[in-house]
Amino acid sequence: MISVNINKHLDTAEGPLDAHFSLDIHEGEFLTLFGASGAGKTTLLRLIAGLEIPDSGRIEVEGEMWFDGARRINLPPQKRSVGFVFQDYALFPTMSVRQNLLFAAENAEQKNGVDELIELVELSQLSNRLPATLSGGQKQRVALARALVRRPKILLLDEPLSALDPAMRQKLQDELSLIHGRLGVTTLLVSHDIAETVKLSDRLAHVEAGVIKRLCSPMEFFSPQSLSGKLQLIGEVLKIEEDFPAVIVTLLVGSSVVRTVLSSAEASELRVGGHAIISTKAFNPILIPLP
């Protein structure tokens, strides 16, 4: 069990913000911090890793106190058992894939585990290559494997897939899910991608303006008024076109584009870039398998 209860004053692009994070993470859980950029998601990861210092509060990980403002305890990042995957991968440029992982190993046992990790992320063929010669997806895998070398108590992933193209993103989501299942490491992911969140996480923490507003399952969060026998899809609004007297709304659902007609009143609360639930009533959906 990891319990976080901290306060931190932040200076964000949208002005100062007094963040208060209170969160319990279960052992082996995959928890996603979901929310708009600037809400403080990345800051929370950095506070847990010890890369930033909270103003007050406590961070306790499996009975070990990592931070306690009242008792002036603050373990440096080196003493905290975390695996951090940075948005820009942060691979060491002069070390090969294998050397990047070996650098992280503290003892012979972890050194021996390096080859297994390289195999797990399917990089055996590339283990002697330098990071500069790898693609984005490959770099991401190295960063992930490197973060796992020390068998951390918590794996912190800061939007690790945001810089990748959709196909690579999906592949890595599957791999991440597989690796989490295999190793069972407690994982905290920062994301603002709905598909990613639903696919990977056990629970979702909705972060808004430095506060965790809701903690629930991703399905509960994204389809709140779930009714049985009703088809619901979540889409991103791409375009809203006035076509008097109606409004044509174009949405992105998964990787397909869907157009639908609404009345002006119905469309008034939608905005481009926002998300909406598409649901149909009374009909059974027809599923036709694709070749």
Binding site: F92, T94, A132, A147
Partner: protein
């Protein structure tokens, strides 16, 4: 004549080599301080480091000469302990280190400031201390900056004239380096000898720079 030529050249490169080594040892921490510190007096340090770029060498040489003279506080303290810096090789090393400081510090500082913060942070979260991170991760990845600093500091020391003339004079095997020797030979209308020094300096510095640029082109993986 030939023996004097060789000993002068040897002294020139010995001075440049020792100066470069000393500069490397103090230049890396100083560059790291300038690249990462958020202290208020940082710009003062930055200014002092850059001063030799704009200051006439004779100004630095003059003040060093005053400081080294037994009449000054520092000079008398040193003399009491049997150290003589004015008109000595040791004095030249100190003068050269100060005078070539920006040539070592600036390339390293600019290379360090291009290393993303996440590289440091990644090493810290992998349990590595600041020193280990610096030695094993950061310095290898800024080796282009290090090589530039080493080459520039070395070449600049070889080519130094004003400071050395002020604090070192022209003592064979002690302070008489090639640039001084050229001036001296020209003064005594001994053009053949001056030419021998000048051409040697020209060829050696050309060869060093060419080697460095060729090697630099062949290496991969650093942060440029």
């Amino acid at each position: 004549m030939e023996a004097e030529f060789l000993s002068t050249m040897a002294l020139t490169f010995k001075l440049a080599a020792i100066t470069t080594l000393v500069l490397l040892l103090i230049g890396i921490p100083l560059a790291a301080f300038l690249a990462y510190s958020k202290m208020r007096f940082k710009s003062i340090v930055e200014t002092i480091v850059s001063m030799p770029l704009v200051l006439p060498p004779s100004v630095l040489g003059f003040y060093l000469l005053l400081a080294f003279s037994p009449a000054s506080t520092l000079g008398s303290f040193l003399t009491e302990h049997g150290i003589r810096l004015a008109f000595s090789f040791e004095g030249l090393v100190i003068g050269s280190v100060l005078f070539s400081l920006p040539f070592m510090v600036h390339p390293i500082q600019s290379a360090l400031s291009q290393v993303p913060a996440s590289i440091f942070e990644a090493a810290y979260t992998l349990g590595k201390s600041k020193v280990e991170t610096m030695v094993r991760v950061i310095l290898p990845s800024i080796r282009h900056g290090l090589i530039s600093g080493i080459v520039l500091a070395f070449a600049h020391t070889v080519g130094e004239f004003g400071v050395i003339l002020m604090i070192g004079g022209n003592i064979p095997d002690e302070t008489r380096v090639a640039s001084i020797a050229i001036y001296d030979e020209v003064e005594s209308l001994n053009y053949a000898m001056a030419h021998q020094y000048a051409l040697t300096l020209f060829v050696v510095t050309f060869a060093i720079l060419l080697l460095v640029y060729t090697l630099n082109k062949k290496s991969f993986g650093g942060i440029r």
